[in-house]
């Protein structure tokens, strides 16, 4: 059910995004940071689902909060003449990799456990056969 919602959301989003007018190049840097922050939130959400402690409020607040905060920080960095957006990217992308690693491990574990179970099952069958 949620997967269907995600697919529909992606398709509709793509259609809307293609038809919406482009923004000025000056602001596309801010938007890029916001996108990275949002992607980080999404991966964080997936991880929390796998861990079983997913909270919609945390997810939504992280999604929008991180995006807006990163935009504000980037803006502040421009005003202070410090490349704060680099820090934001390092943090968000680093966390994305961490989350991806967790997700990867989870599925590898799941897959190998299944295999072990099947192996045991097969052996049992062999024993009964024999």
């Amino acid at each position: 059910m949620i997967a269907i919602a995600i697919v529909i959301g992606c398709i509709l989003g793509a259609i809307i995004g293609i038809n919406v007018p482009t923004i000025s190049y000056t602001y596309s840097g801010y938007l890029a940071i916001a996108i990275v922050a949002a992607l980080d939130s999404v991966f964080g959400g997936i991880t929390s689902v796998l861990k079983g402690n997913f909270d919609l409020k945390v997810f939504i607040s992280g999604f929008f909060g991180n995006a807006i905060l990163s935009i504000l920080l980037t803006w502040l960095g421009v005003k202070l003449n410090v490349d704060i957006y680099l820090a934001a990217i390092v943090v968000f992308v680093g966390r994305m990799f961490t989350n991806l690693a967790i997700i990867r491990r989870y599925y590898i574990d799941k897959w190998s456990k299944k295999k072990v179970k099947e192996d045991i099952k097969n052996e049992n069958e062999k024993e009964t056969m024999g």
Binding site: G9, L12, G13, A14, I16, T22, Y25, S28, A38
Partner: protein, 229 residues
């Protein structure tokens, strides 16, 4: 289905909708933007651009000064060429005067020889007069408007006409000569054996007049060598 699950589904769908929409907007923006155009450059890029342009301006200014000095040199050369060409054209003018290709003016004398009933003027008379005038320093001579140049000739045509430069002329013969008029006059009017006296003795009608500002017309024929090189 529980009510909470529907909310979660719709919320997550919306979240992904927003995320993909923003991402596609960004893709589109990056795709369509020409990074090299001035409006889209970052500040530091613009700064380097400005400094490189400043450098270029300096170089060009140097080039301008170089070119200016070169132009001044050329101008000088042109001026000196002008002087040279003026000199040359002066020389050409003088040579043309000498050759008889220009009208010339000056003080001199006019000798008029007229046929009378008993005595006709012969080409020999005119030739002698020319010789005498040249001896006296005449610079330009004409007979009845025919300029005497280096290849002029005075001949008799069947005893009836005199031809100068191939043109027939008739009495009275007016010989104009430009030169030092005193020399010319005295050269012709020596006592006893001078040209005027000799001709008058022969019974020919010869008159000599001193005149200022005589105009002698230019030679109208061609002055070309065909065989001599």
């Amino acid at each position: 289905m529980k009510k909470g699950k529907v909310t979660i589904t719709i919320t997550i769908g919306l979240v992904f909708l927003i995320l993909t929409a923003v991402m596609f907007v960004q893709f589109k923006t990056i795709n369509q933007t020409d990074i090299t155009s001035l409006e889209n450059m970052r500040e530091d890029e613009l700064r380097t651009e400005i400094s490189s342009f400043k450098q270029k301006i300096e170089d060009l200014n140097k080039e301008i000064t170089d070119t200016d000095s070169k132009i001044a040199e050329y101008q000088k050369a042109i001026d000196s060429n002008k002087e040279a060409s003026e000199l040359l054209s002066q020389e050409l003018e003088q040579q043309n005067n000498i050759l008889g290709k220009n009208d010339v003016k000056g003080n001199g004398i006019i000798v008029t020889l007229t046929d009378t009933n008993d005595q006709k003027i012969t080409p020999e008379d005119l030739r002698e007069l020319l010789n005498q005038l040249k001896e006296a320093g005449a610079e330009a001579i004409s007979i009845n408007g025919q300029r005497i140049v280096y290849d002029s000739y005075i001949v008799d045509i069947s005893g009836t006409f005199i031809s100068v430069n191939g043109k027939r002329i008739v009495s009275p013969y007016e010989v104009k000569a430009i030169g030092n008029s005193t020399y010319l006059e005295s050269g012709l009017s020596k006592k006893q054996y001078g040209y005027i006296d000799t001709k008058l003795e022969e019974g020919k009608d010869v008159k000599l007049v001193r005149k200022d500002n005589i105009t002698i017309e230019k030679y109208t024929g061609d002055l070309n060598f065909e065989y001599a090189t």
